[in-house]
Amino acid sequence: MTESNERRVVSVIVVNEASVLSRITNLFSGRGYNITSLTVAPIPDSKYSRLTIVTAGSVRVIEQITKQLHKLIPVLRVYEHCDMVEKEMALVKFPVTENLTDIDTLCRAYNGKIVNSSENVVIAMVADEPHRVDNFLSVIKRYNPKEIVRSGAVALER
């Protein structure tokens, strides 16, 4: 059994009810598990929401996380992803004085574009695999980004 701390993506289907999110996050903090990112939204036309949690841990820890999540009463299903399509979005604010052509070209390489401009700044968005978003964010450092926000990952099993 490997004890290395691998990155894992877990999807959780929960009943949409008060305090369900704190049940999940309490479980992680109470048992000493990590949350790298967490994305939540209601599933259309149902009483459920879907959470995508990016975490890290050994095989045994991930197995415990899955089982403990499943033990929570409002949790319907837990998926530990292995073969998935995973995407994350990022928004970045640049000064309008930077080279906007470069920025736009870069964004397009990462499934994105400039989505808003105002007197002093433009806002660009990209949507790609999390490690590609990492790449993008390191490449655009030279254009003096003023503010960066990442959405956290969403994933679907193939």
Partner: protein, 565 residues
């Protein structure tokens, strides 16, 4: 019918067959107490502290197998109850605990006696609810009772704002529960069970590792049959005392930190651990990497999260122990009991080498003697509760348990102050048995106000204080691991326990000889009112054997051998 939220609580209790509620009133829960005043469907027992109300409900639940019910108010009423909730959570005790909350309009305003109760109880309950509309109350109460006592049992907390208990709505308790997300497994996978039985038939040195889940699942008599049929030796956890009778020849003893030498050696040498409703707690396993090192593991548990949490299970079986053991019994014919004769002999040699015992080498009464003596005098006629500390371990080691639900103690959380109120709940649930609480001079002061409850409600708990003028277990660790620096554990200054009991209207005895003890116990049983028996015992006795925290089971500190017993 159209009734108030408060009336709904009463109606739901009656529909659930609740006969006793332990509780303490206060501002936010007054609407419900007003309805309690008007009804005669169940008895309410007023404890003198909210913590004691929860422990009493725990004792009641453990002795009866039914859901224990307690009721408290908001704010400090609730926070006082948290220790009890945590205790019930750690020991998987089915409870429904109702708390009052400030009215909805005040929630979030730091109102008087407002605290985020469900935020606090979340990590120490199986589930909890904040009721925001009385329309939801029938469903929530029904779910609460069902969740508490199904699957792996546990406490469920329902927090009800004061205006919700006043709200009038339609009440219909005859509803089907629709818990799509909660469906506990009960039947074990038949193929896994078959494979496990084959592994047992092939093993040379198999060992039953019996846990408290057997008692929760009411499976003790099925387990006894399986042990009898296969003749495989068995060790019990602290929580499982009474699953096998003390004189069952297959029972080695308790294992773990204060388990017997033979039990711990058997666990170290077995080639197949058959874990039934046990969770491989650190007080049981000692150093994990050395635990049952050469063994495969069959693990039967209703909680999938318990399986392979700490020790990898080669044969995981998720299911109710009772159902799984019944299935195992069906295919137990493939096991040849004669196969393990050598193994049984090995274990009895271990036991002869270092039996669980103590020496009468002091002027003062030995604490273990008191436990054994009560066992001789009362045996099966008593239910045994304990507080936490040395006395608790001696009670686990030396009392001759004959049946499940005879032994009631705080295992997982280790809550001092548990014993007396729990023993009250035990007595209420099981009035035909004598309710004994073994306690220490430290623990008893943590809930001694319950003398008042016991006197008022005529609950004749006999509290036997093994008084060594120390916080004995901490003193033992200080002696062994802190170079005898007895920091803040000397309890030389203490109350007159006889007068203390008498001040509330109970009886008290101070005992320094064995004859006095026999006379006091006999008198207390006859008088049939709450009693303190303050037994002056040897001050420096240690609980032995002992596996130091984090040590390996086979590396025990043993009782120093002496000539005479």
């Amino acid at each position: 019918m159209q009734i108030s939220g408060a009336q709904m609580v009463i109606e739901a209790f009656i529909a659930e067959g609740v006969t006793t509620v332990f509780g303490y009133p206060g501002g936010a829960i007054m609407n419900v107490y007003d309805e309690i005043y008007k009804q005669d469907g169940f008895e309410h027992i007023l404890t003198r502290h909210e913590q004691a109300a929860i422990h009493a409900a725990e004792g009641y639940a453990k002795a009866s197998g039914k859901v224990g019910v307690a009721m408290i108010t908001s704010g400090p009423g609730f926070t006082n109850a948290v220790t009890g909730l945590a205790d019930a959570y750690m020991d998987s005790i089915p409870l429904v605990v109702i708390s009052g909350q400030v009215p909805m309009s005040l929630i979030g305003t730091d109102g008087f006696q407002e605290i985020d109760a469900i935020g606090i109880s979340r990590p120490c309950t199986k589930h909890n609810y904040l009721v925001t509309d009385a329309k939801d109350l029938p469903r929530i109460l029904k779910e609460a009772f069902y969740i508490a006592n199904s699957g792996r049992p546990g406490p469920v907390h329902v927090d009800i704002p004061k205006d919700v208990t006043a709200q009038i709505e339609e009440f219909n308790y005859d509803i089907e529960l629709d818990l799509e997300t909660y469906k506990p497994h009960t039947r074990g996978n038949p193929r896994q069970i078959k494979k496990a039985m084959e592994a047992i038939a092939k093993a040379r040195r198999p060992l039953f590792y019996l846990g408290g889940g057997i008692i929760n699942s009411n499976a003790s008599y099925e387990v006894r049959a399986l042990v009898q049929k296969t003749q495989i030796p068995a060790v019990e956890t602290f929580m499982a005392r009474g699953v096998l009778a003390h004189d069952d020849p297959h029972l080695i003893s308790m294992l773990g930190m204060h388990g017997s030498y033979a039990a711990n050696m058997a666990m170290s040498e077995t080639d197949l651990v058959i874990a039934l409703g046990a969770r491989f707690d650190d007080r049981v396993t000692g150093k994990l990497s050395e635990f049952a090192k050469n063994a495969d593991v069959i693990h039967v548990d209703i909680d999938p999260a318990s399986i392979s949490k700490l020790v990898n299970a080669d044969y995981p079986i998720v299911g109710d122990v009772k159902s799984v053991v019944n299935d195992m019994l069906e295919s137990a014919d493939i096991v040849d009991p004669t196969r393990y004769e050598g193994w049984r002999e090995t274990i009895s040699n271990f036991d002869e080498l270092h039996p669980l015992t103590y020496y009468e080498d002091s002027e003062r009464i030995k604490p273990q003697w008191v436990i054994e003596r009560v066992g001789q005098l009362l045996g099966d006629d008593a239910n045994i509760s304990t507080d936490v500390g040395q006395h608790q371990m001696w009670a686990a080691q030396f009392y001759p348990y004959t049946r499940p639900r005879q032994w009631i103690s705080s295992g997982g959380l280790g809550t001092m102050g548990f014993g007396f109120p729990a023993a009250m709940g035990v007595k209420v649930a099981s009035p035909d048995k004598i309710s004994i609480n073994f306690t220490g001079d430290g623990s008893i002061l943590m809930n001694c106000q319950e003398l008042m409850t016991a006197v008022e409600k005529k609950i004749p708990v006999i509290n036997i204080i093994l008084n060594n003028n120390y916080l004995g277990m901490v003193r033992q660790w200080q002696t062994l691991f802190y170079d005898k620096r007895h920091s803040e554990t000397d309890l030389s200054v203490q109350p007159d326990f006889v007068k203390l009991s008498e001040a509330f209207g109970g009886i008290g005895y101070r005992v320094t000889t064995k004859e006095e003890f026999d006379a006091a116990l006999k008198d207390a049983v006859e008088k049939n009112i709450v009693a303190f028996i303050d037994v002056v015992v040897e001050r420096h006795e240690n609980v032995m054997p002992m596996v130091p925290a984090g040590g390996s089971l086979f590396n025990m500190m043993l009782l120093e051998k002496k000539e005479t017993k």
